[in-house]
Symmetry: C2
């Protein structure tokens, strides 16, 4: 397996943690987001969404979206399990994961922060305030 | 079952579609987001995240986050299935769902649009441009 990843991408982090927990070997291919390597034609062939991570299987099949990759890993390599066995426990873990992946992370993605700067003309200080606001709001919801 | 929902909430829409596809009866409790009913203390007791939907089971257990609710529905009421049976097909459907739920929807949520207006002082026209930008960007990624 080959994982297209970036050290600072929290979505890639999740998948690396899952792979390591399950003891699965993979080759890491680094895509430098800050340098815009994910928007180069070379990476568009790998992932048309221009996002990391992408997990490439040995037969060339490519999986995208961190949570979908983790569900696949859990179905194909069930031990150790990422999700509990009972449906209610699974729903709880998935709800917490979705809260982080859907309510916090997308708002503080590099592409959104760059859009705030370029299209909305926000200063770095305003962008930092935006970042802190959604992190605090989201983590309060996780704790609740 | 009781579903806390709002007609214009696309996350609630997903769950209503799933319940109807599976032919499951439920009582709808309407939470008027535009009037801020989700931020009232009454709803905080139901869902500490102040988000819809919430699915309340007959024993009082409450499930949150639309995709986690749909996975639970699919595990407890497997027919008709929301996901294919093979792991790769499941990964593909989940990736498309996550792309919509994580990359498009959170950026255009009511709370984010209100934040753009109140905290960042954006005009309605700028907010509409923001909305269109992320819808177009996200749906291009889905098509790709």
């Amino acid at each position: 397996m080959k994982l297209y990843t970036y050290f600072r991408s929290s979505a890639s982090f999740r998948v690396r943690i899952a792979l390591n927990l399950k003891g699965l070997a993979y080759d890491a291919v680094f895509v430098h987001l800050a340098k815009g390597e994910h928007r180069q034609p070379q990476y568009a062939k790998v992932n048309a969404q221009a996002l990391v991570p992408t997990l490439e299987l040995d037969d060339g099949t490519r999986l995208t979206q961190s949570l979908a990759i983790m569900e696949w890993l859990d179905e194909k390599h069930p031990t150790p399990a990422l999700l509990p066995k009972d449906p209610l426990g699974r729903a709880r873990v998935r709800a917490i994961s979705d809260l982080i992946a859907c309510e916090i992370h997308p708002l503080n993605n590099l592409r959104v922060l760059q859009h705030l700067k370029r299209a909305l003309g926000q200063t770095q200080e305003q962008i930092d305030t935006w970042y802190r606001y959604w992190i605090a709001d989201g983590l309060q919801k996780v704790e609740a």
